[in-house]
């Protein structure tokens, strides 16, 4: 595990640069992933940054924050080249469409907004949620946009029409995180009651992943079907995505000098290889985790005993 500390506040967002392994968390500091050294810090936001996205097709970095601003940074000049106006309140999440030049943001005003990157115009306002949109994800196939809200619903949106195709009401508490599986046509959503998995086009319920009894702030899935969920109390759960078996739990290592109350995982992502897990935490650090090479079936026995019936919802 490697710890990068240098931030002066909570690390609320992390994105991995698909091209050159850079790492961009809150306050737009760019770290070199290999050496853990600071490359660059970008200033411009006047309140905390809550979302980051690095384009794989442009040299652009997008950032959004609680100051209702969305900025597009050109990483060749390290300057803001575009700003997108429209949100009525703090912006909590953003997602770049993988193939279209479209940016989706969501925030405290309970609307998701779809932006044309080039013209800076708002294409759609995705209204319907009754609470803060806590997470948004985009993908190439339908549903192209998925939003998770603190009104404990998940909505799947039709990008062409700008309308919700489906509302998933299964969660009982606010849904704070979403993660799309890179291999399957499925996604997972995390709430305090359960982590749930869904089949994609219509949002059919697959299964519950019960056991993470805390506020789940973040989810991440890698190519090997390992799902990570990070809790607000610093608990880290690792799941086998297919079976829903929780094969490992861990506690975020406390940074020297940090308080108990700062012990929370806020954001997480796997790097491009899927072998390193990067978490951003309340103790103002970024931690990079790797697989335990010495783990064997003896040291970490699999005790997988599924019930005869699984909950149907």
């Amino acid at each position: 595990m490697r710890v990068i500390s240098g931030h002066l506040g909570w690390v609320r967002s992390i994105a991995v640069d698909p091209s050159n392994d850079g790492l961009q968390p809150e306050l737009e500091t760019i770290w070199d992933l290999a050496t853990g050294t600071l490359k660059l810090s970008l200033t411009g936001h006047i309140s905390s940054v809550r979302g980051l996205a690095v384009s794989s097709r442009h040299p652009y970095l997008f950032s959004c924050g609680e100051d209702k601003m969305i900025k597009c940074w050109d990483l060749e000049y390290n300057k803001v080249i575009r700003q997108y106006h429209g949100h009525l309140s703090g912006i909590y999440c953003m997602s770049l469409h993988p193939t279209l030049d479209v940016l989706v943001t969501g925030g405290r005003d309970a609307t998701g907004r779809v932006w044309d990157i080039r013209t800076k115009n708002q294409i759609f306002a995705l209204t319907g949620h009754q609470g803060t949109i806590a997470d948004v994800k985009t993908q190439e196939a339908d549903p192209q946009i998925i939003t998770a809200s603190s009104d404990s619903t998940i909505k799947l949106w039709d990008l062409a029409a700008g309308k919700a195709t489906c509302t998933l009401t299964n969660h009982k508490k606010s849904v704070r995180a979403l993660a799309i599986n890179p291999n399957e046509y499925t996604f997972a959503s995390a709430s305090t009651d359960n982590i749930k998995q869904w089949k994609c086009p219509r949002g059919d319920f697959i299964q519950n992943l019960a056991g993470h009894n805390s506020i789940v702030n973040t989810l991440a899935i890698n190519q090997d079907n390992v799902m990570f969920s990070g809790g607000d109390n610093g608990s880290m759960y690792f799941w086998d995505y297919k079976t829903g078996y929780n094969f490992q739990t861990a506690e975020a290592a406390a940074q020297p000098g940090s308080l108990d109350s700062e012990n929370g995982v806020f954001c997480s992502t796997f790097d491009q290889t899927g072998l390193r897990l990067i978490t951003g935490e309340g103790d103002k650090t970024i931690k990079i985790w790797k697989e335990d090479e010495r783990a064997t079936p003896e040291t970490h026995p699999v005790n997988f005993k599924p019930e005869i019936v699984r909950p149907k919802y």
């Binding site: 005869i308 019936v309 149907k312 919802y313």
Partner: protein, 712 residues
């Protein structure tokens, strides 16, 4: 102003004339509150205008409250209830609809709304509301329960069933399904109930649900179906999910039908399938069943099963506890189920001791032995027996230790199978690999039993080259030769044996050699042997034996009395030798034996001579010498003998005698100076004996003698 007031000085610091206490204040407040509060005067609504006024005021209040906090559902409910009470159903509905716009997920809103409609018998309205509610919140069972109940109350069973069907399509919890079943049961629709059950168990395949279904079938008298369901349940769930309750319930069901054999089979099947930890109750129930219905055999079966479980537990706790394995295997043997017995033995012998030391193996090896014996005697599977023996012999680390028992048993087994080459080969290997006393002995014994004297001879040769010091082996070898009548060889062997440098217990050898000669009536040779033996060792026992021999020796004369001189000669020779060597205890023993001899066989003259030699016993004291050779402070007593022959050599004896005489005199004359006791000669005796000590044995040298004697 502030600053000024802070600086104001108190002008009069005296206590106030009227003092007010806290109690006073409280009392006063209480008195005032006791006064009747203000009550708004009751208004009588006289006409429609006043009513409208009142309603408008009230509505305004509600609307204001809602405007203040739209999300407070209580206000909405009160508003709607008030409208309903006013008989304004349209308005009440409107309030409910508006509130549902605010919070459509509130259950109590929906329920209250539907209840209002039901109260006013607007069934279709209520249905409409329920339909909307269950569409929006399909997972709230309460709506469904109320909905179905309403349909049933208005005798719309078909509609109720339809609602249930809609509900069941959501695959709800078990209670919901059971509610559906109960409905069908109420209307005696057994076939429909069965269909529901079928879907129920496919949705919730837990064992307990299957049992409910079976119970239902049994209740309506369809035992054939019930049995089928039990079987289907066990088949569907598989071993992993079937618990003891299924079996217990199944068996009890069969018991109720008086199908005792079936029930027993079920119990047995279950006990064989389920691990002990999951079958606690099952055991008890089965025992009870057998007690109630079973014969002796059945009960015994149960007990065996129970004990088996107990042993299994003990083995699980400590798999190397061989005592448990013995008991376990014996238990299995008593049942007579070959496969089980073999299985048990195989498991037992798999528990090889971890440490390669013989004492850890001693008990373990008996498992093998018992196994082999059982295979041979009971199972009569000789190939297996042989395999067991060879396996066992392969297992034992012969380099460090071996078990002759196993080798010999194997050999005997092979002989029983008429496999003589095999038997010789086995024992040959054993002797080559790990020669051992018992192995040789056993092997030779077997060969002798087979009348193979030549083989036995070669074996003895091997045996004795391996262990030339073993007197017993020599004796046995010689006896073998003698038994085949080859006296020359026998003597030769004895001679070689006697000539061995290091012999354990040579006396056995000598004794048997002499005995052989006596038995062969070669008295001269025997005497010669005694003489040779005496050259080697002049032990008192040899002398006594020699004397006895002389007394029984017919060559000394036919009449025993003629043999006396020879005997006396031996005794006196022995006596002299021992005296010369200073072995006092031995000498005393010899004299005693001699006297006994004279008493029983001899004459008075001989007896007198002997009695003159009898020593006196005295007690002496010496310091105990510790292990490290240093004298400790402790004293111990020991016996010493004073021989009359030796008295001349002991000057201080005279002194003793005198002291003795003095003591006698003292007694006679009743003189009373007791304080002059006999303790005062320590120094003298030490000095007197110093010279004598030099000639004594090494052991004696260490003694610190201080005499203190109360002689008899």
């Amino acid at each position: 102003m502030d600053r000024g007031s802070r600086n104001v000085k108190v002008k009069n610091k005296n206590a106030a004339a009227v003092q007010i206490t806290a109690e006073q204040l409280l009392r006063e407040a209480q008195e005032r509150s006791a006064e009747t509060p203000h009550v708004a005067p009751k208004q009588k609504i006289a006409d429609i205008d006043e009513l409208n006024d009142y309603r408008q005021k009230k509505r305004k209040g509600f609307e204001d409250a809602i405007r203040k906090n739209r999300n407070h559902i209580g206000t909405w409910l009160k508003y709607a209830a008030w409208e309903e009470q006013q008989g304004e159903l349209e308005r009440a509905r409107s309030v409910y609809e508006r509130s549902l716009d605010v919070e459509h997920r509130n259950q109590s809103l929906w329920i209250k709304y539907a209840e209002m409609e039901m109260k006013h018998k607007n069934v279709n309205m209520a249905r409409n509301i329920f339909d909307r509610a269950v569409a929006i919140l399909p997972r709230v069972d309460l709506f469904w329960y109320k909905y179905t109940y309403m349909e049933e109350v208005i005798d719309n069973v078909a509609g109720c069933r339809q609602v249930f069907e809609r509900w069941m399509s959501w695959e709800p919890s078990e209670d919901a399904w059971l509610a559906y079943v109960k409905l069908e049961k109420r209307y005696n629709e057994n076939a429909k109930a069965r269909a529901v059950f079928q879907r129920f168990v496919s949705c919730h395949p837990q064992a307990k649900n299957w049992l409910k279904w079976a119970k239902f079938e049994e209740g309506i008298g369809r035992t054939d179906f019930a049995r089928e369901i039990y079987e289907k349940c066990i088949e569907t769930l598989g071993e992993e999910f079937v618990d003891q309750n299924v079996y217990i319930s199944f068996a009890k069901f069969e018991t109720r039908l008086k199908e005792l054999e079936r029930a027993r089979a079920i119990y047995k099947y279950a006990l064989s399938k389920l691990p002990k930890s999951k079958a606690e109750n099952l055991h008890n129930v089965y025992t009870q069943f057998e007690k109630q219905y079973g014969g002796r055999e059945g009960i015994e079966d149960v007990i065996v099963a129970k004990r088996r479980v107990k042993y299994e537990e003990e083995i699980a706790a400590n798999s190397k506890d061989y005592d448990v394995w013995f008991d376990y295997t014996r238990l299995e043997e008593s049942t007579g189920d070959f496969d089980r017995i073999r299985d048990c033995y195989e498991r037992a012998i798999a528990e090889v001791p971890l440490i390669k030391e013989k004492r850890f193996w001693r008990r373990y090896i008996y498992l093998w032995l018992f196994y082999a014996v059982w295979e041979e005697k009971v199972a009569k599977d000789y190939d297996r027996t042989k395999a067991i023996y060879t396996q066992c012999l392969n297992l034992i680390p012969h380099k460090t230790f071996t078990f002759a028992k196993i080798w010999l048993n194997y050999a005997k087994f092979l002989i029983r199978r008429d496999d003589f080459t095999g038997f010789r080969k086995a024992l040959g290997t054993s002797i080559g690999m790990c020669p051992k006393d018992r192995l040789f002995r056993g092997y030779i014994e077997l060969e002798l039993k087979l009348q193979e004297v030549d083989r036995a001879r070669t074996l003895y040769e091997k045996y004795l080259t391996w262990g030339p010091g073993n007197s017993a082996a020599w004796v046995r070898f010689a006896n073998v030769e003698r038994s085949v009548g080859d006296m020359d060889r026998c003597r030769g062997i004895f001679e070689i044996a006697i000539g061995q440098e290091e012999l354990e217990m040579p006396e056995i050898l000598w004794k048997s050699y002499i005995d052989v000669e006596i038995e062969e009536e070669e008295y001269e040779k025997a005497r010669g042997l005694y003489e040779r033996l005496l050259q080697r060792s002049e032990h008192v026992k040899v002398w006594i034996a020699f004397a006895r021999f002389e007394y029984s020796n017919p060559e000394n004369g036919e009449d025993p009395s003629h043999r006396l001189p020879a005997v006396r000669k031996v005794f006196s020779r022995g006596y002299e030798t021992l005296r010369r060597k200073g072995e006092k205890a031995d000498r005393a023993f010899l004299v005693e034996t001699w006297r006994e001899f004279e008493k029983s066989f001899g004459d008075s003259a001989g007896l007198k001579i002997v009695e003159a030699k009898i020593p006196r016993m005295v007690k002496k004291r010496r310091r105990v010498v510790g292990d490290d050779g240093i004298e400790t402070g402790v004293w111990e007593e020991y016996n010493d003998y004073l021989f009359p022959d030796d008295e001349t050599e002991r000057p201080n004896l005279k002194l003793f005698e005198m002291a003795h005489a003095w003591k006698e005199k003292l007694k006679m004359g009743m003189l009373d100076s007791d304080d002059e006791s006999e303790e005062d000669e320590d120094d003298d005796s030490q000095n007197g004996q110093a010279g004598e000590q030099a000639g004594r044995s090494v052991k004696r040298k260490r003694e610190n003698e201080s005499d203190e004697e109360e002689d008899e």
